[in-house]
Symmetry: C2
Subunit: 359 residues, 2 copies
DNA sequence: CTGAAAGCGCTTACAG
DNA sequence: CTGAAAGCGCTTACAG
């Protein structure tokens, strides 16, 4: 709120010698309703007093805030930034919201109980909210299903929970990636998963299992490491997977940070990437191009997803069609770089593809 | 704003059979003023109707919004996230604000003219604002000097502009780093600067020049590349500096992203780091540990700076002492990793230090 | 201990 | 073309 001394609409009205209604009209650009001289006088008065409408008062009178909430759960990671995903989606939201003259408010949920959620989100301080990759088992998702204001979730959700959302088709992407790996000749493909509360992690793992199956391979328990999307879990995971028998010749990582951690662990073990082990990232974060070898990874259009979420929300606020339950899905694209290659002993992908019973 | 149907304080009052004043009191925790039975009744009514106070109305009545603005200029970078600095500072602000029950609103300034600034920031929708590393020549800084609401700037400013701020002592850090480099024996130290509108970049460069002078070295124009804090400028800069004569044996980079770009360019040129050229980063971003070789860099306590900024702002809002003009300075610390070493031909730092007139 | 009333700074039918 | 008045949903002296 501005300091007490700020001029109000009454001051402007008095200064211009008109009513507050007139000032309000003029300043809202409904100047066609008024005499040119009046409009001019009001404009000048506002200018001279350097009047600026109090947004809080406008909001109350208009029964809308023109602000979007961006809700992230920070209790797990501790940090908002821990997730590059969040930041890029936020950027997209900021872009679209800015164009549409909406403000954005960040809600950083430290504890995900229904009390807190209601207090922080459903308190009339925002017209709609985007939930960024919430844990699928928390109060936030539960609340969202019955929320009275428009909600869009950015990320994945278990089947059966229907909240309007925008997501990336990571299943197809993983399927694609695994197929490519098997075509290169890989038969022992490991995975370092994300945390089970992040539904995207679950879906990716499921897709991995299905891809394996459709390539006639079986999922081996010792080829799976339960990570949590952190660099550290990448390090630990890769180190552990290297002790498995059979040892994986390729590892699918939960995200690029995990992949870089894996790279580091393998480097310390003097295991060469991609000659001995292929590494596949996820996200196509800056680091994917900055690390060595550069990561083969799956690019997700985070920014666009944010833009879309904001667009959906603003459309809903402004009386557009009701938000659809069917998610809006963006494709993930496999970006082939240096961290993947045929497994040791095989060099030509073509040869490998028809190789039959390579062990 | 919440949908029309939401219960208001009047509904609760009616339901509990008391006045709205009583409901207001009780729900604000001033229950000591009331009979236990009344308190109980009000609580239950609020619960049953799942009433939640409308924050906009509270804000207007209380003449405060309990929200902090975080203002970033995005016209240069296009993206909020382009700057890791911003995100980590934001995290710190979010942390402190959350504890203090303040909300935070992001203002992403696409054009930095005084109109836009006033409209977006000084519109009564926030009680105070943190300006994150604004360009020193823009309307935002000009506005901040006369702003009616509490302002804290996070970052650097030219001398003579007095806005309360929190900053890092990058001058001392650079001085320190250059001294260390000269002690290692480096005599030709290049620099890839940041953009001149970012005052931190100017200050770092000045510190670099002074450190050179105090080591008895002269600044050579061909050893300076005008970058802009991007990866691309790191690539281009390093490539260009390698054509200089004399060729630098060490390069100070504007930030870690720039340093990684430099690493990449040198890699392509088959110039080894740190054997032939030492690279010094700035920030200690994740990538500094993720790239190869790991970067020697200067760590900045971004998160703490954000926390401090929020603390100052909230103190000011709540009637604490007026914000001091003297900046609050955090130290930057030199983190020595693998990207720096003595220049070619010199191996022992000790020997180099007293080496006298090494060319 | 409780409530009637004024007020926060706007917007918006409505009447003229 | 313009203005008086009600209202948005709260808070807060103030009186009782």
């Amino acid at each position: 709120m501005r300091p007490q001394g700020s001029p109000t609409i009454r001051d402007v009205a008095k200064h211009a010698g008109v009513s507050v209604a007139t000032v309000s009209h003029v300043l809202q650009g409904k100047s066609s309703l008024h005499a040119a001289a009046t409009v001019e006088r009001v404009r000048r008065s506002a200018e001279e007093l350097s009047y600026r409408p109090n947004r809080t008062a406008q909001n109350l009178a208009r029964r809308q805030t023109r602000t979007l909430g961006v809700v992230v759960e920070t209790m797990t990671t501790g940090r908002f930034t821990a997730n590059a995903f969040c930041v890029e989606v936020l950027d997209g939201i900021l872009d679209f919201a800015g164009e549409a003259d909406y403000q954005v408010k960040i809600v950083s949920l430290k504890c995900n109980d229904s009390q807190t959620v209601a207090q922080c989100v459903d308190n009339g301080s925002m017209d709609a909210a985007a939930l960024i990759a919430p844990n699928s088992d928390g109060a936030l998702v539960a609340w969202a299903q019955t929320a009275a204001l428009p909600i869009v979730l950015v990320g994945s959700l278990p089947d059966g929970i229907d909240i309007p959302r925008v997501d990336v088709d990571d299943e197809a992407a993983i399927l694609n990636a695994v197929r490519w790996l098997t075509e290169l000749g890989h038969r022992h493909i490991g995975i370092i998963t994300g945390p089970p509360t992040q539904w995207s992690a679950v879906r990716r793992e499921n897709a991995y299992a299905r891809a394996l199956a459709s390539a006639g391979l079986e999922a081996i328990a010792s080829l799976r490491y339960a990570g949590d999307y952190t660099y550290a879990s990448g390090q630990a995971g890769a180190a552990e997977l290297m002790t498995a028998d059979p040892r994986p010749t390729a590892i699918i990582c939960g995200n690029d940070g995990v992949a870089v951690g894996a790279l580091e662990a393998l480097h310390r073990l003097h295991i060469r990437v991609p000659d001995e082990v292929s590494i596949l990232g996820f996200d196509d974060h800056d680091v994917a191009r900055w690390c060595r070898p550069q990561l083969t990874t799956i690019r997700q259009p985070f920014h666009e997803m944010g833009v879309k979420a904001a667009e959906l929300l603003i459309t809903a606020i402004e009386g557009g069609p009701v938000l659809r339950k069917e998610p809006i899905i963006f494709p993930g694209v496999l970006v082939r770089r240096r961290s993947t290659a045929p497994p040791p002993g095989l060099s030509a992908p073509r040869g490998a593809r028809r190789g039959g019973s390579v062990p």
